[in-house]
């Protein structure tokens, strides 16, 4: 499940400026721990953003995305009161969804 995402969705005219921070280690599989053992790969693979239940933005990602990923994207035609939900899934089958209601601009 992981920690909740931090989602900021700011309405600027009819463009919704979204910024999301996800808590995730994004392990590459190349890093060694204190004992010198390789830390297994553990990273987010897919991200889906839905506005009022409709998929509007989607990403496939690799271990090259930085730890605790931050993404920004822009949606068109959104308005105050719309529901924005974001879901990520990782390579271990873990998944998390968080939702915000768009505030007035």
């Amino acid at each position: 499940m992981g920690e909740p995402m931090k989602i900021r969705a700011k309405l600027e005219g009819d463009v919704l400026d979204v910024r999301v921070l996800m808590a995730h280690p994004m392990e590459t599989g190349q890093r060694k721990d204190g004992a010198g053992n390789l830390v297994p790969m553990h990273f987010i693979q897919t991200i889906t953003a839905q506005l009022n239940g409709r998929t509007v933005f989607q990403a496939d990602t690799s271990q090259a995305i930085s730890r605790n990923p931050v993404f920004g994207f822009k949606l068109k035609g959104a308005k105050a009161g719309d529901k924005l939900s974001i879901t990520w899934t990782d390579n271990k089958g873990d998944k998390r969804t968080d939702e915000v209601v768009v505030g007035a601009g």
Partner: protein, 156 residues
């Protein structure tokens, strides 16, 4: 099979079919729409593009890549990408000299998402950050920006 479970199965199958159709616009080149393991495990840009079924993208100045000229910390390199190409449907991001160059793909729903994304990536060494845009009419266009990396961010 009980009536209930048959219905549930039908319902689920139906939902899956609808989901597949809805997802259809997202990955026209790859109807399977699964996380593309072959492309993500490719060790060269050429192989990654082949796995993504992207042939000979043309150079363009209409993709704006904002990234630092010099990144002191390769573990966190901020990148902003804006496409000014009409009909931009998706963007592939490749870090050419990373062990696995293909870093991400972004799909934008037509009319609902602007062809813009901001992300942060790890870079092992100085490299081009290459972006390939796919358009709704099946064209591929590309641009790149070099980022010099002082301290690599993949192992450590």
């Amino acid at each position: 099979m009980t009536e209930l479970s048959r219905r549930t199965t039908l319902k689920r199958t139906g939902a899956l079919a609808v989901a597949t159709i809805v997802a259809g616009w997202l990955r026209p080149g790859d109807a399977a729409a699964e996380w593309n393991r072959g492309a993500f495990e490719a060790k060269t840009v050429a192989d990654a593009l082949k796995q993504l079924k992207i042939a000979a993208p043309a150079d363009t100045k209409d993709i704006v890549i904002r990234a630092p000229d010099i990144a002191e910390n390769g573990a966190v390199v901020p990148i902003e990408i804006q496409s000014n190409i009409p009909g931009t449907k998706s963007m592939v991001v490749l870090i050419e000299k990373n062990p696995f160059p293909y870093a991400a793909n972004f799909d934008f729903a037509p009319g609902a998402a602007l062809p813009y994304v901001a992300l942060r990536v790890k870079m092992g060494e100085t490299s081009n950050v290459r972006v390939v845009v796919a358009t709704a009419d099946g064209r591929f266009l590309t641009a790149a920006k070099e980022v010099k990396v002082t301290i690599g961010g993949c192992g450590g």
